[in-house]
Symmetry: C2
Subunit: 347 residues, 2 copies
DNA sequence: ATGAAAGCGCTAACAG
DNA sequence: CTGTTAGCGCTTTCAT
């Protein structure tokens, strides 16, 4: 067997040039005689050379790797909990879209995401260590809870990081978000336009800014139309939570004729419960969701939903991080996207 | 501002020892005087030292990183396609469980997964390059199609890799799998025990071994019971595919009284279609799924399903890869898990 | 435009 | 048990 994987040295020898020249060719630096460049390329081909990234990283002090961390607030860290967390996270179509957008930005730049879960203090420590060791150049953080301590830790440590969604308490980090308030208004106006006069809403967790803002926008638009005291129940952003919330809502207000659920999963839960009770959607109760994720189209009836451009947002999040990493951007920046109503069958 | 991040040298100076000693302490090598170890630990604390992984990787020739690649057979690579692929992949609860299991093994060893999608020839090239550059020590591959060329490429290149599920054509790589045939038998026997006498099945893609084997097991058990010519339609492992397949099945055999769907997503599609047609599950038609993923419990009615221990399988996959990487295992090995029937409401 | 040489921060013989 | 030393493979001045 020959020696290990070939190095720059080997290619240089094969091409009859210096290591420096090969390095220049590999990295596409100009200042290289086209003829030589050809020779070097041939030598690379012949030797089957692949640059050692550890060596490169050591000198350029970059990994071309970013941490993609899904972060909660848990304080436990046993395997079952993590399994369950991972399964739940990945079942929510929202994360798939985030991953898609992130990869869409990173891949053309041959950057790659390392997947991390931060559900406990240990996990968070691990994320910081990971970054401080230079195993990743920065972090993309998707928090599942408002009180997630990770963003603040990252900011304190001066590590490059960008958040998906505005954190509950201000943190000096860039973030992307959708205009949740505008989304709530869109939902309200659509229900009004349909002729609903007893609308209600199943909200997300109210300690999360997305939950609060969607509710606020919904109420504001209704108030403008003269409707106050709109009933609402918190649904926790899950399918089961949506159904339970609708159950509670129905118990107190059997006559609701329109429901805005703050995400599609809950909207589906709402539809299910309504149907179980013999109600028809949208004839008896119109339902509007939020996200326009895969479940919106798959739900029966297909959900009318406030679309959040998650892929674009995730892409932008990656772009911001890249700029922070290269030092092209230093100030925390917020990029806010406009929601859009997608009309289907449920309202 | 002080200098950059502290190095071994800085810690050594602070502790009044040599770099080697600090290195030994950091890496937990014995042979170190407990008193000195204390001093070094203190110095690490004081300086806020975090070992530079690129430097370490350069010499130990390991990254403690593995590629987790979801691999199809596509030949396109535009952004929208990838977005859609990522979204679809992550919507399938199956992958969440895989990720959970993989992370469960890796994390305690401070190893980490880099997420990659391989949907085109370019993507596959990228995966190989990634590994050859030493950016990851090996690959965990989850193929979505039988004809996925990636496993063979990996094997040819002599790169450490382990597959989830047996590849359609033999490849000299380790893999984990569930006994799909036994799973099919379990489903058949359950339907028979319930008194079904006109069973049918919605299969997975028949070019995938999981699809073929589940069908084979189902048929075999039915044949033993004297039932031959069991109707089947291919459903593509998706929700919509399951519904369509059931539709086709019903058109040809309106009297089926039991259906085995080769995964839960399709089983849910089957239930939906049945319900749309006014049929009741399980009273008119009993439905058995496969996987016992999150949707099984969430489906109405809750699905009786053949459980695949995905988390444990994924964990084992990571363990095998780790052994291959450290050279403790050289021969390709297959680890096959037993399925188990979980009885709920649908059958 | 090209080459020589000095590290990047760490580990691992090898002495002592 | 501890220190000295020689690289790991690459990039990057600095000369030429």
């Amino acid at each position: 067997m020959g020696r290990q994987t070939p190095t720059l040295e080997d290619v240089a020898r094969e091409a009859g040039v210096s290591r420096a020249t090969v390095s220049r060719v590999v990295n596409g630096v100009r200042n290289v005689d086209p003829a030589l460049r050809e020779i070097v390329h041939r030598a690379i081909e012949v030797t089957g050379y692949a640059p050692n990234r550890a060596a490169r990283s050591l000198v350029i002090r970059r990994t071309e790797t970013v941490a993609l961390v899904v972060s909660g607030v848990g304080d436990v860290a046993d395997d079952d909990t993590r399994d369950a967390f991972a399964a739940r996270v990945f079942t929510d179509p929202f994360f798939g879209r985030v991953v898609g957008g992130v990869v869409g930005f990173l891949r053309p730049r041959s950057m790659h995401p390392v997947l991390m879960f931060a559900e406990s203090a240990d996990d968070r420590r691990e994320v910081l260590t990971f970054l401080r060791q230079g195993r990743a150049d920065g972090a993309l953080v998707v928090s599942t809870h408002a009180d997630d301590p990770l963003p603040a830790l990252l900011a304190e440590a001066g590590l490059p990081a960008v958040l998906f969604a505005r954190p509950a308490r201000p943190v000096p980090l860039s973030h992307v978000d959708v205009d949740n308030r505008a989304g709530g208004r869109l939902a309200a106006r659509h229900l009004l336009a349909r002729g609903c006069c007893r609308p209600a809403t199943v909200t997300g967790p109210l300690d999360v800014s997305a939950g609060r803002e969607r509710l606020a926008g919904f109420r504001a638009a209704l108030t403008e139309a003269g409707l106050t005291d709109v009933p609402f129940v918190e649904g926790g952003f899950t399918l089961a939570g949506g159904a339970e919330a609708m159950d509670a809502l129905l118990a107190r207000h059997p006559d609701v004729d329109g429901v805005f659920a703050a995400n599609d999963l809950m909207a589906e839960g709402v539809c299910r419960l309504l149907q179980e009770r013999g109600g028809r959607v949208p004839d008896d109760v119109a339902v509007v969701g939020f996200d326009d994720s895969g479940v919106a189209a798959a739900c029966r009836p297909a959900l009318t939903s406030v679309r959040q451009p998650v892929e674009r947002m995730a892409q932008e999040m990656a772009r911001l991080l890249d700029e922070h990493i290269r030092g092209e951007r230093t100030e925390p920046t917020a990029v806010v996207f406009d929601p859009e109503l997608v009309t289907r069958d449920s309202a």
